[in-house]
Each structure stands twice: as structure tokens, then as C-alpha cells.
């Protein structure tokens, strides 16, 4: 019977509308801003080595973001997106996974990639679209990807990765290797039809996927109050009968622990989980954006006081795992590394002309090969007009 699930629904005889106003999704917190933990909080088992791997990645991401925004302002880079304020959400969740689990991110998750070991060189090569960019200079800066690190290349159209994550995880389940997929997306992207498709299909087909929503309060200029009327994203899980948890996204310990348990559910029970991480996009949406037109400095300040990196640092220091000295050294060495690597990367030539036509198909079809050879002849005729590629042609 198709409707047996409702069999144990109780009957009522007075028409009663339910809106769930009284229902508020609780928020899981472990770490206070001063670096102490809540009394009775369930603490993750996190050894010093792992804790420091997480922390160093958070600091790296922050430094990278600062430097690259500056580089963009200097005109060295066309575009950049910072993840400032959301480092704990992204890196804490990535750290709770197996390094071979698949990550399908939106675009503000450089921290997850850095955590897995993407090198500064690799970041820079993508950002500067040079010949070493894995993406062959085809996508805008910040569209990273790594097959070795199980990090799907970023795609600009929002939310498309969410149903893909469901399908990817379905494949993992068929393979039976005990791996899962995590997909990240903003609370804005969660308005797309693809979100609904993905969560519904995942719950029907019981796939090991973690849907991690970064609820950072804004989609470009649109505040979440104009994005949805409900209490955030987590309550939507009830409509799919999906496990869900809301977590303080600036709390590295809570994010880590929640994701660890979400992963357990996903992998051991083959059930999808929705994690909503409450945070704030401290920087502008991107280097093209200026938030002063749509939100107050005061609001930003209030959130700056909840800095997730500082919070973790205070915790590490309380545990005597980290000193100001080490902090200073780390910051300095990261800055130096980023700057030096950037200089190298921006000097590298762009990808070769042939990269215009490769990878459209597995092989270049005849029409396209013909188009390329015409283009080459044209560039040979007007080499000065195509400085990026004319040189390569002469020698190539």
C-alpha cells in the first residue's frame, strides 16, 4: 500500500494548521570564543597532530585569502573569492572525512582542498591560469580541482553539484568501498531546484552523502531573510526524512564532531545527512563586490568577534599545543611562501593554443581540428594581435 507510512498518523477532527513556529532546530556548540569548552559538551577526540594540521590549514587559508585579495586589488589577478570567517566550517568538516572521500564543493571551500594537501603552487597555477593549471586556464580563478585529492573541479552554476553528489555517492555505494561524498553549498544555492532533487533522491535511494550547507547569512547582497522564511535550512530535512544537525560553523570542534558522526551515518547506514553550519561571510562576496551597499559595519563587527581561527587558537594555547612564537613563525612563513609562489606562477606562460580545442571531447573531432588549424594560420598572419599564443606557435 502506497500510503501505509501514514497509517500511524493520528486522525484529528478539528482542522489544525501546522507551521512549526514553535519548533526551533537546536544548534550544537562545543567551543566558546575564549577557547574553553561548554560544560558537559561532547568533545571530539582530536590529537595534537591533527589539531595542528587543521589549525595550520585555517591560517594558510586566511593568509592566502588576504594576499590574493591584495593581488587582485593590484590588478595582478582578475578575480578572487575569500572564505574569511568560514574556515572552521570548511576545514573542520573536511578533517572529519577520510581523505579519499569525495568532495563536491561550491567555491568557497579552498580550505578543504588545502587541508588535503593542495600545494601553494597548485593554488597559484589555477589562480593565474598558467600552463600548469590543471584546468588549463579555462575557468576563472578559484575554480580548483584535483583528481588525486578527490576534490571535484568547481563549476560556477550554483547547486548543480548537489544532485551530482547524490549520484556520485550512489556509485560509491554500488562499489561498496566504504566511502562517502560530501557536498558543500550556500544557503542561497539551497533555493535552487537542484537542491530539492538532490536531497529527495538521496533519501529515497539511501546514498552515503553529506549535504553541508554553509549558512553564512548572505547570497551576494541577498540576506537569508529574503532567501527563505523558515528557521534556516536544517528543518527541510524533516520533509525528506533525512538526518540533520545544525552546528555552530565557527566552532571547529563542533563542526568536526558533527561531521564525523554524519559520516558514520552515511557510510555505516547508507543514509544521507544534512549538516547546517551557521556562520557569516565576513568578507565581500567576491573581489567584484562591495558589501557596504547592503549591510552594516556593525553587523560585520559583531561577527568578527566570533572569529573561528582565533577561537581555535585560544583552545590550542590552553592545551599548550601552540604558542605565540609558533603563530608568528607560521604567519610569516606562509606570507612569504604565498608571495614567492605567486611571483613564480604569474610569470609562467598560459596554456598552449591547442588547449583551446582539447578536452571538449575525448578526441578532437575533425571540424574542430579544422577550426584550430584555421586559427593558427590566422594568428601567424597577425602575431602581434595575439601575444599570448603567437610566440608558442612560432616555436611549436
Amino acid at each position: 500500500m502506497p500510503t501505509t507510512k501514514n497509517a500511524n498518523s493520528s486522525s484529528i477532527h478539528t482542522p489544525t494548521f501546522i507551521r512549526g513556529d514553535e519548533f526551533h532546530f537546536p544548534i550544537y556548540k562545543v567551543l566558546k570564543q575564549d577557547g574553553t569548552t561548554y560544560r558537559g559538551a561532547v568533545l571530539p577526540k582530536l590529537d595534537q597532530e591533527k589539531a595542528l594540521r587543521i589549525y595550520r590549514t585555517m591560517v594558510f587559508t586566511r593568509v592566502l585569502d588576504e594576499r590574493m585579495l591584495a593581488a587582485q586589488r593590484q590588478g595582478r589577478l582578475s578575480f578572487y573569492m575569500q572564505s574569511t570567517g568560514e574556515e572552521a566550517t570548511v576545514i573542520g568538516s573536511a578533517a572529519a572525512l577520510d581523505d579519499a572521500d569525495m568532495i563536491m564543493a561550491q567555491y568557497r571551500e579552498q580550505g578543504a582542498l588545502a587541508y588535503r594537501g593542495f600545494t601553494t603552487d597548485q593554488f597559484m597555477n589555477q589562480l593565474f591560469s598558467n600552463e600548469l593549471d590543471y584546468g588549463k586556464g579555462r575557468q576563472m580563478p578559484i575554480h580548483y580541482g584535483s583528481r588525486d585529492l578527490h576534490y571535484m573541479t568547481i563549476s560556477s552554476p550554483l547547486a548543480t553539484q548537489i544532485p551530482q553528489a547524490t549520484g556520485y555517492a550512489y556509485g560509491q555505494k554500488l562499489d561498496g568501498g566504504g566511502h562517502c561524498t560530501i557536498t558543500y553549498f550556500g544557503e542561497g544555492a539551497a533555493s535552487e531546484g537542484d537542491f530539492h532533487a538532490a536531497l529527495n533522491m538521496a533519501s529515497v535511494h539511501k546514498v552515503p552523502v553529506i549535504f553541508l550547507c554553509r549558512n553564512n547569512g548572505y547570497a551576494i547582497s541577498t540576506p537569508s531573510s529574503e532567501q527563505f522564511a523558515a528557521d534556516g535550512i536544517a528543518p527541510r530535512a524533516l520533509g525528506y526524512r533525512m538526518h540533520a544537525i545544525r552546528v555552530d560553523g565557527n566552532d571547529i570542534l563542533a563542526v568536526y564532531q558533527a561531521t564525523l558522526e554524519a559520516r558514520k551515518i552515511a557510510v555505516e547506514q547508507n543514509e544521507p545527512v544534512l549538516v547546517e553550519a551557521m556562520s557569516y561571510r565576513l568578507a565581500a562576496h567576491s573581489s567584484s563586490d562591495d558589501p557596504s551597499g547592503y549591510r552594516s559595519k556593525k553587523e560585520e563587527e559583531a561577527w568578527r568577534e566570533k572569529d573561528p581561527i582565533l577561537r581555535m587558537k585560544l583552545w590550542l594555547q590552553k592545551k599548550k599545543w601552540w604558542s605565540e612564537e609558533e603563530e608568528k613563525n607560521l604567519q610569516e612563513s606562509l606570507r612569504r611562501e604565498v608571495l614567492e609562489t605567486m611571483k613564480k606562477a604569474e610569470k609562467r606562460p598560459p596554456p598552449p593554443l591547442d588547449s583551446l580545442v582539447t578536452d571538449v571531447y575525448d578526441e578532437v573531432p575533425p571540424q574542430l581540428a579544422e577550426q584550430l588549424s584555421k586559427l593558427k594560420a590566422h594568428i601567424r598572419k597577425y602575431p602581434d594581435a595575439y601575444p599570448k599564443s603567437a610566440g608558442g606557435l612560432k616555436h611549436g
Binding site: S146, T153, T166, Y168, H196, A198, T358, D359, Y361
Partner: protein
């Protein structure tokens, strides 16, 4: 050899694809127990289990999103969209995702293992939402291959090739022929090449070009023309993207005349692309303008479908017009 109709040939191809590679997975609306509303996936769930052949929820963008992910993961995803008219909710996943997956990642990732099957075209009194021929919407998208078979033999060989081709393929099935077209089909596994047109009949006076269900009126018109002494060369394009420019060009260089026919509306239809290319490549050899015999520039009608459709008579008239230009 066995006699099969087009539906059976497709079912047989899917069966072989699933048997020969246990990474192959078939899914879509009603494809499970029921075997699809046209029964193209009959018995596949029974044979290969629910994990490899299943119903999806009713959401085309989800079906293709899911399929993209599954293909990227390494499985062979064969997704059914119940009618081509209902493929548009998945347009973004196909055009922005499937088609660009490999290119944007520099080949780190791809969805070459994806095949999308969908019934298209008129002839079943379906009105504007069960009759569309949307191949041209996809033909403007580098990264996709687009295939349309004309009969059971071709359907089986082209579908097996599509499923195994390392690129995403949209495979349009002429639903009017599902049961109407019956022919000899080898029972064993075979593939027909993608990107190669097929010359069904050689001729010297005029080239006639179409694909899928439109081959039938084309051949009928050719018969009429032959009776009037016009020697027709008949070509089935088979693959819309990438299309076989060479075969068509060589034919027109020989005949000097070209008539192209499709059911979709004229404006923006794929015949336009072909005409544009061929007028360039065969300019000095053309003896009359390239003619297009197509649907009108309107949605697909119901009561007046017969009037709307580019039938053998309209093609025949176009042939004569071209010859007597």
C-alpha cells in the same frame, strides 16, 4: 538474426550493455518494475536487480544531475527522460554540466560514461508536449554527441556505441517507430560508428538528407521522384553532433542539389546548420538553393498534425522544385 521492433532492439541493447559491463546502471521515471512507459527497459530490473535498474523520483534535473555524478564516479549511467518534451528541466545539467565537465576540469574529471535516452517526434497524436524534436537545442552545445537511429538495426548498434562512447551522448528515439518499425537484428553485440552518416542509396541528381523517423517520408518521396526519372542519393545523418560533413559534402559535390528534412520548426533547426555549411563547401557546385522541408515555426499542433508535418509529398515537391530551379 531475429525480427525485432525498434523498442525490442533498444531493450536488447540495454540488456547487452548491462550484461557486458556490470558498472552499467539504467534509471528514470517508471523504468523499474514497469519497464518504462514505452517498455524499453522491460525485465531489466528483474534481471539485474533494483540497484542497477530503478525508478527515480519525478524530477528530470535530478535524474541528469544524479547521472552526471554517477558517470563522473566511474559507473556507466544510462538515464531515460520519459519524453523529449520533458528534457528541458534538465537542460542546465546537460548543457552547462555534462557538456562542459571534461573541458572545464582539464580532463581531471568527465562524464563520458553518460548516455541520455529519450523518445522524440510526432506521429502519436501527442500535441505540443508529446511530439517535439529538440535535437537542435542540444546541437549548439560543444561537448555533447547527439545520435538518432532510424530503425531497429541501427538503434541497437548506435545505442551500444553511444553507451560505450567516452563522451556524453543524447540518444533520441523515434517513438512513432517504436512498434511500427520492424526488421532483422543480430542477436549478438555490435556497434555502429558515431559521427558517420550512412548513404542508403546512391544517386546522381539530388541529395536527400534526414535522420530518425524522417527517413521514412524521405525514402517515400525519393521513390516518387525516381518514378519521374530523378536519381536520388539518400543519406541518413545518424549523428547530429559531430555530424559527418565529409559524406554530405561529397554527395552534394556530385549531385549539386540538397534537400534536408526534419520535423522540428524551420527557424534554428539543424537543417539550417547543414545548409550553411554545405553552401560554403559546395558553392560552385550547387545548381539550386539548398531546400529545407520542416515543421512550421509554431509549436507542434494536434488536430492539424498532418498539415504541419513535413511528409513525403512536401519533400517530393521540394525535390521537384530543386530539380526544376
Amino acid at each position: 538474426m531475429a525480427k525485432m521492433n525498434l523498442l525490442q532492439a533498444i531493450n536488447n541493447a540495454l540488456d547487452l550493455a548491462m550484461a557486458s559491463n556490470d558498472k552499467t546502471v539504467c534509471f528514470g521515471e517508471d523504468v523499474g518494475v514497469f519497464g518504462g512507459v514505452f517498455r524499453a527497459t522491460s525485465h531489466l530490473q528483474e534481471k539485474y536487480g533494483r540497484a542497477r535498474c530503478f525508478n527515480t523520483p519525478l524530477v528530470e534535473q535530478g535524474i541528469i544531475g544524479f547521472a552526471n555524478g554517477l558517470a563522473a564516479q566511474g559507473h556507466v549511467a544510462v538515464a531515460e527522460i520519459q519524453f523529449a518534451d520533458y528534457i528541458f528541466p534538465a537542460f542546465d545539467q546537460i548543457v552547462n554540466e555534462s557538456a562542459k565537465y571534461r573541458y572545464r576540469s582539464g580532463s581531471l574529471f568527465d562524464v563520458g560514461n553518460l548516455t541520455i535516452r529519450t523518445p522524440y517526434g510526432g506521429g502519436i497524436a501527442g500535441g505540443l508536449y508529446h511530439s517535439q524534436s529538440p535535437e537542435a537545442y542540444f546541437a549548439h552545445t560543444p561537448g555533447l554527441k547527439i545520435v538518432v537511429p532510424r530503425n531497429p538495426y541501427e538503434a541497437k548498434g548506435l545505442l551500444l556505441a553511444s553507451i560505450r562512447d567516452p563522451n556524453p551522448v543524447v540518444f533520441f528515439e523515434p517513438k512513432r517507430l517504436y512498434r511500427a518499425s520492424v526488421g532483422d537484428v543480430p542477436e549478438e553485440d555490435y556497434e555502429l560508428p558515431l559521427g558517420k552518416a550512412s548513404v542508403l542509396k546512391e544517386g546522381t541528381d539530388i541529395t536527400l538528407l534526414a535522420w530518425g523517423a524522417q527517413m521514412e517520408p524521405l525514402e517515400k518521396a525519393a521513390e516518387m521522384a525516381e518514378k519521374e526519372g530523378i536519381s536520388c542519393e539518400i543519406i541518413d545523418l545518424r549523428t547530429i553532433v559531430p555530424w559527418d560533413i565529409e559524406t554530405v559534402t561529397n554527395s552534394v559535390l556530385k549531385t549539386g542539389r540538397l534537400v534536408i528534412s526534419h520535423e522540428a520548426p524551420l527557424t534554428g533547426g539543424f537543417a539550417g546548420e547543414i545548409a550553411a555549411t554545405i553552401q560554403e563547401r559546395c558553392f560552385l557546385y550547387l545548381e539550386s538553393p539548398i531546400a529545407r522541408v520542416t515543421g512550421l515555426d509554431t509549436p507542434f499542433p494536434l488536430a492539424l498534425e498532418k498539415e504541419y508535418v513535413p511528409d513525403h509529398l512536401k519533400i517530393f515537391e521540394a525535390i521537384k522544385h530543386s530539380i526544376h530551379f
